[in-house]
């Protein structure tokens, strides 16, 4: 009896101690996927790459601010006094401190980098064909390069001005305890180019991600080449910029919008004709901004703060079809707003809209600009510029100089987030006199060079990462 009981108690103790072995304390979440499981196979990695496009569509980035804030800073926009929701003053006034700098942009760059770095690091171990893996990797490399270039444009001085000045940290492997220092502007550009060149090399030229409703919202070989053209242009690498522009132009994949098409293409559901890369606006997007969506922000019947400057409107000759991308508003006579984001009809109000990031016209403009700086393009600056004018109902050029190209670039790409960075790389000061420019006490005109052309690094990042240095001209009150 005693013995039996001793066995029973012994058995209970041993059973409960051993059956509760190592696995007993492993309880993994079931309603979300742990990192290891999420990226364990091709399907998981594929979905993780689809997800990596997420932040680009955020209103803090290409969903709105990346376009609107730059237009407000560049002289293309004015802070509306007729319609006012207290938005857009900061960009217009150039009042940036480490407390109110564009922190969202900084965060989204690294969120995106983290999303793609995880996939790049996981790809080696998964079972899939080499080309399938390479296609995913090419998308990841593109997104990493794109995010960092976007970030260095905000927080660094122009490459063409001071390429050895601090840029932003270029993160190749996302680690939870890493505190990376800033790479120089030049290093960031070089890393981005290296990533893009590898992406161009390994991607299947026919590959397009199928999980996106809008094929223009995801990466293919021409997206990579178009971005390379833009980056080389920003570096003043004229020949390379022209060569990559030519690759895209001659692919025949994209077609110039005609003057007839032009006013209506902006509110289409999916990208057409010229669109090489864009944000696909949709109410179901996790990043959908609702009342902060770009369609409501640029609508005078909505928030309407970003109004078009008279100076910009004055550049267009009569009959230029591009004038049709500006609207007036009966309650504010004489004021104009862009209609490039008028709403695609996904919802009554607020609506949503696609936002074009790269399109074919830019590449013609890149190549024309490269040509006047001596690049051999197989075409001429005049020819390339006239491709634009002929499709816009504007008079053709007989000859073009650098100024003509700058003006034509401004007119064509206005309200698409370009002109501010163009001013910076051209080293042109901001001059806002006359017209409807509201008088502001500071920063009415901003000299180039000035520390103001690079935004201050966010205070929280400075406080959390002692390896970062603040941009010249700004102070950080560290805690």
């Amino acid at each position: 009896m005693k013995k039996t009981l001793a066995y029973i108690f012994g058995a209970i103790a041993i059973l409960s101690a051993t059956s509760c072995g190592k696995d007993f304390l492993e309880r993994a979440p079931k309603l979300s996927l742990s990192n290891a499981i999420a990226l364990a196979d091709y399907e998981g990695c594929d979905k993780a790459v689809h997800g990596a496009y997420y932040y680009i569509s955020s209103t803090g980035w290409w969903g709105a601010d990346r376009v609107i804030e730059n237009e407000m800073r560049s002289g293309n926009g004015v802070k509306s006094s007729a319609v006012n929701s207290n938005r857009c003053t900061q960009g217009y006034n150039w009042n940036y401190t480490d407390d109110n700098t564009n922190t969202a942009m900084w965060a989204y760059c690294y969120y995106t980098a983290s999303a793609v770095n995880n996939v790049i690091d996981a790809l080696d171990a998964i079972e899939a064909s080499e080309q399938d893996k390479n296609n995913l990797k090419a998308e990841c490399l593109f997104l990493r390069a794109f995010a960092h270039i976007e970030n260095v444009l905000q927080f660094g001085q122009p490459y063409t001005y001071k390429k050895d000045s601090p840029g932003v940290p270029y993160v190749f492997h996302t680690e939870s305890d890493a505190k990376p220092a800033r790479n120089t502007v030049e290093e960031v550009y070089n890393f981005a180019i290296a990533d893009l060149l590898e992406a161009e090399k390994i991607i299947d030229p026919t590959y397009v991600r199928k999980s996106s409703v809008d094929p223009c919202s995801v990466v293919n070989i021409y997206t990579i080449q178009a971005l390379l053209s833009r980056i080389y242009l920003y570096m003043g690498e004229w020949q390379k910029s022209a060569d990559y522009a030519t690759k895209v132009i001659e692919s025949g994949k994209y077609k110039m919008w005609t003057a007839e098409e032009y006013p209506d293409v902006w509110t289409a559901d999916k990208g057409s004709g010229e669109v090489i890369f864009e944000v696909y606006g949709k109410r179901s997007n996790g990043t959908y901004g609702n009342w902060d969506d770009i369609s409501w922000l640029t609508n005078p019947e909505g928030y309407g703060d970003p109004q078009v400057s008279d100076e910009l409107l004055g550049l267009y000759e009569e009959g230029d079809i591009r004038l049709e991308t500006y609207r007036d508003f009966e309650k504010a006579p004489g004021c104009h707003w862009t209609t490039k984001y008028a709403g695609k009809g996904d919802n009554a109000a607020p609506d949503c809209n696609n936002v074009v990031i790269i399109r074919l016209s830019e590449l013609y403009l890149n190549r024309a600009e490269a040509a006047v700086h001596g690049a051999q393009t197989g075409s001429t600056a005049v020819k390339d510029i006239n491709v634009i004018t002929s499709n816009r109902g504007a008079a053709p050029y007989n000859s073009v100089g650098n100024v003509d190209i700058q003006t034509e670039r401004r007119k064509e790409l206005a309200w698409e987030g370009h002109y501010f960075y163009d001013l910076a790389r051209w080293g042109k000061s901001l001059v806002r006199n006359g017209g409807n420019f509201a008088l502001i006490s500071t920063n009415q005109n901003v000299e180039f060079p000035s520390y103001k052309w690079a935004l201050p690094i966010p205070k929280r990042e400075m406080n959390l990462n002692e390896n970062l240095v603040q941009n010249e001209g700004y102070t950080t009150t560290t805690e």
Partner: protein, 1003 residues
Amino acid sequence: MKKVKIFFTAIAALLSVLAYGQNITVTGVVTDGSNGEPLPGAAILVKGTSDGVVADAFGNYSINVPANATLGFTTIGFKDQEINVNGRTVINVALESDTEMLEDVIVVAYGTVRREANTGSVTSLKGDALAEAPVTSVDKMLAGKMAGVKITSGSGQPGSTSTIRVRGTSSLNAGNEPLWVIDGIPVMAQDFRQLSNAGVGGGSSSTFLNPNDIESITVLKDAAAASVYGSRAANGVILVTTKSGKSGKAKFTARAKYGVQDLINDNNLRPLTGAELLEYRRVAAINAGYNPDDPTSDYYYPQSLLADGTTNWYKELTKQGSLQEYEVNATGGNDKSSYYSSLSYHKNEGVFYGIDFQRFTARVNADASLTKKLKTGARISVSYSDSNSGQMGDLYYSNPQYSMWSILPWTPMYNPDGSYNTDISENSGTNPRADASLNIYNDKEYRLQGNMYLEWKPIQSLSFKTTDGVEYLGEYSRQYWDPKVHKGTSAAFNYWSYDIRYTTSNTITFNDMFGNHSVRVLAGQEAMTDKFELLGGYSPNVDPAIPYPTTSTPEDDQVEYSFGDESMLSFFGVADYNFASKYFVQASVRTDGSSLFGSKKKWGTFWSVGGSWVVTNENFMKSTQNWLNQLKVRASYGVNGNNNISAYRAYGVYGSATVNGGIGFLPSTPDNPNLSWEKNKTWDAGLDFGFFDNRISGSIDVYSRITEDMLLSKQVPYTTGFGSNFMNIGSLSNKGLEFQLDGDVIRTNDFVWSLGGNIAFNRSKVLDLGGSEFLETSDSRAGGSNGGTPVRIVEGKSLYTFYLRDWYGVNPSTGAGLWWTEDDKLTSDRTKARYIYCGSPEPKATGGVNTSLSWKGFSLSAFLEFVYGNKVVYTNNYIDDGYDMTVNTTTAALNYWTKPGDTGVSPQPVADNPGAYYVGYSTRFLQNGSYCRIKDVTLSYTIPSTITDKIKMNGIKVYVSALNPYTFHGVTAMDPELGTYGYTMGAAHSMVKSFIGGVEVSF
């Protein structure tokens, strides 16, 4: 041990009597000297022999003895008595209870100890102290009764939870509620109901327990007492022991209570009457430059508004609630086995329409000796509760606690045809009475708690015990919106959830004495798994005739699903040693492995050491025994943990992300392999004393409790891919003093007056927030229509600090409201008012006082609770100085500026007041929250046994009781008790008072 000895002696005595029956026969009754109740089973022994008998169930005995014999009367819990027969044939004996011995033993972690041997800080209550109070749950009864155990209600709704803080708040993101252990098994004590606890915010729920089933409750407060519960011990442990069976003939007890309930409103706050409001409005209109008698004016307020009569919405939306409770229990058994079983029903009809709470509980506790060395038993309880709620808590128009203050007195409750008036524009067309009668907010809870043990004692000093428990909790919630209330749209919500938990606890105990050395060593192992699952459906536009999901359009249905599981594995040991009952040392250690934590920190070890010295057991203290009968000093130190976080926080996970018209994955939580327990390091020093044979007794404790590795969401550089990570980085401290004193002021045979009290002082301080300047409190009530919280957690300050707009007062010459600005100027623009830190909702002192008078069968007892030195922000008065002319206001608004020179008043009301001085979370509504509440006054009468004996009853007791009859306070609110955070958010069900009568019969 002693019990066993007596038992065997009694048996032996019985046998010997059978063998030697002669001489004279003595008969009599053995009774309890304190109340005259018979003492069944008392042993009667013939001195100097082994002869003896045992009294029967009615205390009667009969024994044959020599005429000159001496009889010894013995039973558990009473002092032995010897009586010379001297030829008498009838000897009735009243035994004096041995209080020392009764109180000797207290329940502690994994066993019991003699009070004398305890080295930690514990507080315990016996079941008798709990049985009469007419409340729904045990937690509510404990309020104010134990030093350092602060129990706060956020709501007076029947069945609502309580917030329990043992020695302050130790954590910001892990839980703060103590661990509940019932009969050795840790149980789930949180509220799982979906709809019935709104506006309260977490807390402990023990509604599933029938208070009368409880034998004792012990609260383990310091590390020495609690550390053996390891990673769950940081917030203290509440050990509940339910009643075991008592051997003997079946004894039944039946109880019935009935009572009524009303809202507490001891400062008589009410909405304005029609005449008062009209006057207030007219003043506001005139002050704004309008003529209230001009029909074309925006603010036309003629006397004729009152012509059709007015409605007192406070009165119409509240009613007298009722309480009833019925219970019957039985206990009995033989020398091998015993049982206790009970059945109870409780119903509480609320003071608002549509609110009630019902509960059934049933319990069987059984024990059996299988052999001399093997014992088994089971503790099984089932409960079912059914609660109907309204949309209490949040700022909804259908919440009567909110709308009774705002609906206008000239708005009628009913239409002329008798139906509910819903043409109430000031309340968005919602009539709360219509909502209460047509809408459904119902929770049903089914709970099973069961455990079984098997104990084997191969030798006297060694015991093996296994206790295995299962707990199942099923929850069904149903909400229905009737289209007549919700402007033509109907909706049904149905939720099912369950939580199931298995626990096994296995111990080996060695307990022996070698001369003056006494040793106890316990080693144990425990394992627990827990799984939770919820499935809910939202079905819009259901057919009111069939208000179930089957009649909604399937494509509009929405499904909600949630799942969580966790597991835990533990090994632990306790060692006690004492020398000559003078010097005691105790040490405990526990290693817990938990699935909740990171892969590198799965296991944690917790420990404690403690010692005590019973000074009065020293020889040199013999001379003082006549006045100082007990003096003990004790000290302890230990480290325990807090594992109260939700599952899977340590995992880096991908969530889904919708972009480009499809769904992808995105990192949603960073990986955190180092996520670990919060640690509480506690030291405690204490003194227990008893004077004049324990006529005065008490204890003093001083403690310090430092929380380290506190879990906080720490900001991290975005370059890591995340903005924040949940890390073990913070620190805070709680230090305090506790006093408990009990005494019998008068103690004669017939009359006893006892008085007791406790007071505790706790001071908290935030030591480290991991780099953040301040944090917001994580108040689960915040958000939505309720807005943000006015309480901040600031490094260097006490844990909770109000952060409010700074109100100056009224400009005495103009009657306008004024605020302080950042640059020390005054402004009437509230948006320019500065924010300041201004006091804490944490009380400086808390405690209670109890007293009882007993004379013969009568007993009058009273208990009051006090809270001192806390600040509260009460915002539900809606004193908006005319800003919102569409709603009613309260009598608190009538004290307004009328002429130059008036100070200490509200601004003069101005219609559509552009200044809008009403900012709820401002110092204007910050008040001293101290209060003193008479919690309970009970008068009872026990019918003398001379009468009950004649009608063959064991006892009859009747009583009347008042719960919360009056509260002394100066807060402009119905009641000052506003929960741990000390501010109103939304509009929670206000507190209630009850008056109750009951009868208890045992036979």
